[in-house]
Structure formats: structure tokens, C-alpha cells
């Protein structure tokens, strides 16, 4: 069979019509439908609302992400600007306590 010129719009219209007709053309459910659903539901038993702490945390997680990211950037900038292990600070500490200073020096060597 040779193909005619393909027409997207016509094919789409035809398939849409078929698809949408499925909604109303389908068979009705049996009379036992509701009874069967309720039987399955009753078999599950009562359900109670219990706060799911993980999902409560999840709700706020993404809201806190930009704040956390900003905080990390500020801390990194601060650390770079004010050297965390400044030699001057270390020297001041160890000058006041020469025993610890020696010990740390030994360890570092």
C-alpha cells in the first residue's frame, strides 16, 4: 500500500476523537463495584493521621537551601579574609604556654 501525504492535523484530530470517545463508550462497572471497594477498604482497617516528621522536614528543606547556601558563602569569605590559622594568633597562644608550644611543635615536625 502506498502512503498518501502525511497530515499531522488530520491524524491528530482522528486519534483525539477516538481517545475522547473512550471515556463515554466504556462498559459500566458491575453492581458490586462499590461493595468490593468498601470490602477492600474495611480490610485495611481505620487509618489515622500521624504527623510524618520526615515530610514535615522536607517541606522546609528546600526553603532553607538558599539561606544555607548564602550562609556558607559568607562563612567561606570570612574564613579567607581572616585567616583561620593565623600564625600570629598561634604564636600568642603558645608564647603564654611554652610547654604546650613545644609539644605541638614536636608533633608538627
Amino acid at each position: 500500500m502506498k502512503s498518501s501525504k502525511w497530515d499531522d492535523i488530520k491524524v491528530k484530530q482522528a486519534l483525539k476523537a477516538v481517545y475522547n470517545a473512550k471515556e463515554n463508550n466504556g462498559p459500566e462497572v458491575s453492581e458490586q463495584f462499590e461493595a468490593q471497594v468498601m470490602r477492600r477498604v474495611r480490610a485495611l482497617g481505620p487509618i489515622y493521621f500521624s504527623p510524618d516528621y520526615f515530610s514535615l522536614f522536607e517541606q522546609y528543606f528546600w526553603r532553607l537551601v538558599p539561606v544555607t547556601a548564602a550562609l556558607i558563602i559568607v562563612l567561606v569569605a570570612w574564613t579567607i579574609q581572616f585567616d583561620f590559622t593565623s600564625e600570629f594568633d598561634l604564636a600568642t597562644i603558645f608564647m603564654n604556654n611554652p610547654i604546650s608550644f613545644d609539644l605541638i611543635q614536636q608533633l608538627l615536625i
Binding site: 502506498k2 483525539k16 471515556e23 463495584f33 471497594v37 468498601m38 481505620p46 510524618d52
Partner: protein, 196 residues
């Protein structure tokens, strides 16, 4: 007095269910049964509609504690219905339970006529509606569960990318990409079928 005769609201029914009154669920079942069946009939073969619709309500019952009431119960239930249909196809494709039939000459003729000018007359014929349904089902069976669902929601139902994304729980970008690819696959399938 009037309040005593009015039907309980969805929120009230849900509160009763969550307080342990299992039978109150029947109110929701009766109220939304038709809407759920309409969704399921569109996505699932007629033979499995009843069982899948039952699954939708059972899933809804189990998920009630997570219902927040932001967009209304019907919208929430519709999402569960679409996702249950999606799960049905995922399971079905995994086990490959569908028949890999080929299109008959009758089906090919129908497709040929659609492309030609006889399409409007053809829609009114009962026999051609049957063929049309079979062609659609044949083509969709050859797509993955993901392609099938996105094609049905976006291409055939005309939902926006955002709406489809909400129903399927995907990102909008994923829906757009999938939708484009699945449309191309469908076209290729149908074109191939009438060329042979």
C-alpha cells in the same frame, strides 16, 4: 435545621475517616466514582477498568493522611487515578502482557482514508470507530509506559505541560521532552504501518 439536611463536605468526611470511621469513605466513593471511571476508561483497556478503578480508591484511602486540601479533593483524586493508570502500564510493559499483533489491511485502509478527504464521513460509521480504536491501541502498545501516558495527556487530551507534570509527578521539562519524542515515535509508527 438546613445544615442538618445538607450533605457533609469533603473535609468533614475526610476528618471522620481519619478519626477512624472507615464507612465514611463510601460517601467519597459514591460522589467521585464517575469522575474516576472517566479517567480510567481513557487510559486503560476496558477489560481492566473496574479493577484499576478499585485500586484508585484503595490507594486514595491509604493516602488520605497525606491529603492537604490545597487544590481540592477531586484534583487530588485525579492525580492518584492517573498515577495508578501509569503504574498499570509500567507493570504491564515489564511483564509484556500485551499481544504484539500487526495492523490488518482494514486498519491500514482506515489510516489511509483519514489522511485523504474521507475522514469526516468515516467518523460517523460505527465499524470505522472500532478500527480507529484498534489502530490507536496498536500504536500506543508499541510505546513505553512513559511515552504512552505523556502522549495521552498532552497530545490527545490537550493538557498543558504543567498540568501533565502535576499528574505524573515529573518536571515540566521532562514532560516537554517526552511529549515531543513520543509524538515523533507515534508518527513514525503510523507512517511505517501504511507504507508496508
Amino acid at each position: 435545621m438546613r445544615e442538618n439536611h445538607s450533605k457533609p463536605s469533603d473535609d468533614e468526611i475526610i476528618r471522620r475517616i481519619l478519626d477512624g470511621d472507615v464507612n465514611a469513605f463510601e460517601h467519597l466513593l459514591l460522589k467521585y466514582q464517575e469522575q474516576v471511571l472517566k479517567i480510567v476508561r481513557k487510559h486503560i483497556p476496558y477489560g481492566q477498568v473496574e479493577e484499576t478503578a478499585q485500586d484508585v480508591f484503595v490507594r486514595a484511602y491509604q493516602s488520605l493522611p497525606t491529603f492537604k486540601g490545597k487544590s481540592g479533593f477531586l484534583q487530588w483524586l485525579s492525580v492518584i487515578a492517573v498515577r495508578t493508570c501509569y503504574d498499570f502500564w509500567r507493570k504491564r510493559y515489564r511483564t509484556r502482557e500485551f499481544a504484539m499483533s500487526t495492523l490488518t489491511e482494514k486498519h491500514q485502509d482506515w489510516l489511509e482514508k483519514i489522511i485523504s478527504d474521507q475522514s469526516s464521513r468515516l467518523f460517523n460509521e460505527q465499524s470505522s470507530q472500532k478500527e480507529a480504536r484498534e489502530v490507536l491501541s496498536w500504536a500506543l502498545d508499541r510505546l513505553s509506559a512513559e511515552d504512552r501516558m505523556v502522549l495521552e495527556l498532552v497530545y490527545l487530551e490537550g493538557l498543558s505541560g504543567k498540568e501533565a507534570a502535576e499528574f505524573l509527578g515529573w518536571s515540566i521539562a521532562n514532560v516537554k521532552i517526552r511529549s515531543h519524542r513520543s509524538r515523533k515515535k507515534l508518527r513514525k509508527l503510523l507512517e511505517k504501518s501504511i507504507e508496508t
